[in-house]
Symmetry: C2
């Protein structure tokens, strides 16, 4: 049985493990520069600080280990996957949610856990008054795109995502043509 729960600060190392496993699947293992300390700071901030993301964890409950003499132990739970998300905003429609990562460990695939995670994020979005849920998918990942379309998602083909980062971002930030 699959259980979905909100991640807590104690899950930061598990979240980082999931992020690294997903990056490996996306053929970008070395791209993960994020640290556990940053995940703690940005997902579980101190009062007054900005929260950058939230996360839900899927656990799969196995059979309890057989132990006829000592009584029945609690069920064994294994971390199977996660969904990491944050609020965004559409100036056409208002509140929206962005799903940044959806990951299920290979040995837990085919059990409906990905769908359960996506459903949970959709439920949280609806609960918070969001009318749209977005995510990105790699063009070559056709199984994922087809899976998402069966859930009512559409591909937004006519937009290009732009990015400026690191040195170029700092250079842009320091242009001295602005009076503020």
């Amino acid at each position: 049985m699959t259980t979905i729960r909100m991640a807590g600060v104690d899950d930061a190392s598990l979240i980082l493990a999931f992020i690294r496993e997903l990056a490996e699947y996306e053929r970008a293992r070395d791209a993960v520069k994020l640290t556990e300390a940053e995940l703690v700071r940005d997902g579980f901030p101190t009062a007054g600080a900005e929260r950058y993301y939230e996360c839900v964890i899927a656990e799969e409950e196995g059979e309890p280990p057989h132990s006829p003499t000592t009584g029945e132990p609690g069920p064994r739970r294994e971390a199977a996957g996660m969904a990491l998300f944050f609020p965004i905003y559409s100036t056409w429609r208002g509140r929206a949610m962005h799903l940044e990562d959806l990951f299920v460990r290979p040995r837990f695939r085919g059990l409906g856990i990905g769908k359960a995670l996506l459903t949970k994020v959709a439920a949280l979005a609806v609960e918070r008054g969001c009318v749209l849920l977005y995510w990105h998918v790699l063009d070559w990942n056709e199984p994922a795109i087809e899976f998402y379309k069966t859930l009512g998602a559409e591909a937004l083909e006519d937009w290009t995502r732009m990015r400026v980062g690191d040195d170029a971002l700092r250079a842009l930030a320091s242009l001295d043509n602005v009076t503020v």
Copy 2:
């Protein structure tokens, strides 16, 4: 002279006017369903509520009206454009910023106001420890894409953005295969 300032709650109707003018330019005038009340709630929330976006406003300062007898009035400022943005998160790199709308009214174009707005958002991003700044641009808007590339931005060609909304989102949210 261009002045950039943070938007306040009194700017909500101006922000909505900008959003509508931008939608018209993007050939999607009827797509704006957002109301001024929602912009107030989501950008200038009461204590404890989540903030979904922030906004900076560009004002262009004209010559003061000629008034030799009554002394010099303050300079006349006209609202020229805006940038609307919010924090997002990269699980590879950490804190990031997303620029949702960048708009300059047609009669103020060619004065560097778009660049000044983008620079201000980049500066806020750097100030907050963000290493990346993202935005979307319509494929057919080649002048904008070329402008952004001169600022050090790159186009992310190999990702597709997916969206599920409204009825499909509610249906997804209510799938009863989840134990939470």
